[in-house]
């Protein structure tokens, strides 16, 4: 089930997106710790979308497999892309004077994580959290 696509172009959009993910996690009865993990990963990745990707959109879907429910959140931008995705996944690596924990941190917090980036075309990050 598709829960819609949300623009992520400003800091405020990130908060609105977080609120929507929070609402859906409660609807699906995620344990509180998993809800916090998912919201934190969402926050990190949405910030990447508008800071590094120059803005983009985020799709939220409800997924099911093996009798389990989950949420898949896909972050898509048409920014410059990531030259070396292995390097970008290394904790502490940063191009913007940040902490370099965004991508590797988000990966650690969720059940599934996929990163696809093409230089000059953009970046897509998809995460799934199962109930």
């Amino acid at each position: 089930m598709n829960h819609g696509t949300f623009p992520v172009r400003t800091a405020e959009h990130v908060v609105l997106l977080r609120r929507e993910v929070c609402r859906l996690s409660r609807e699906l009865s995620f344990p509180p710790l998993d809800e916090t993990r998912l919201l934190t990963a969402t926050s990190e990745l949405a910030r990447n979308t508008y800071v590094h990707g120059g803005g983009g959109e985020v799709k939220i879907e409800q997924v099911a497999a093996d009798g389990r429910q989950g949420l898949r959140i896909t972050f898509r931008d048409r920014g410059p892309g990531i030259v070396d995705t292995n390097l970008a996944m290394r904790p502490g690596y940063t191009t913007t004077n940040g902490l370099g924990l965004g991508l590797p941190g988000a990966k650690r917090l969720v059940d599934e994580f996929a990163l696809h980036s093409t230089v000059g075309e953009g970046t897509v990050v998809s995460i799934v959290m199962w109930v």
Partner: protein, 132 residues
């Protein structure tokens, strides 16, 4: 665009800030500036940052809180982050985030005790966050 300001409340020699759960990056950046000016104007000796209503402390917010602590130190004020939720504490550790420059306390009462004691002695149920 005008940024919504997070209120800073004065309690004697201390300042109290309740970080709203819906605070965005721009509001946090504005708070950094506002708070340092208030510390100077009020000659505040300490600042309590109450995050009990915050469900998400990501790398940006963690870095901002830590920066506030280190900046306030230059103005001779100590910063105590109070009310970190258990789930937030676990997520911070999983993310590998630290809060250098600030101390932590369970709630506002403990935070005030910590500031009141001049930070020399730690009351029960408070801890010193990692100091570089």
């Amino acid at each position: 665009m005008t940024v919504t300001r997070i209120p800073v409340v004065r309690i004697g020699r201390f300042l109290l800030v309740t970080i709203p759960g819906h605070a965005d990056d721009a509001m946090i950046e504005q708070l950094q500036t506002d708070l340092l000016e208030r510390v100077r104007d009020a000659s505040a000796r300490g600042v309590l940052l109450d995050v009990s209503g915050v469900e998400v402390v990501d790398s940006f917010l963690a870095r901002s809180l830590s920066e506030i602590g280190r900046m306030a130190r230059f103005l001779n004020a100590k910063v105590v982050v109070v009310g970190i939720q258990p789930a937030v504490a676990m997520t911070l550790v999983e993310l590998g985030l630290k809060l250098p420059g600030v101390r932590t306390a369970l709630n506002v009462d403990h935070g005030l005790q910590l500031l009141g004691s001049g930070g020399e002695r730690e009351p029960a149920n408070t801890s010193r966050s990692e100091i570089r």
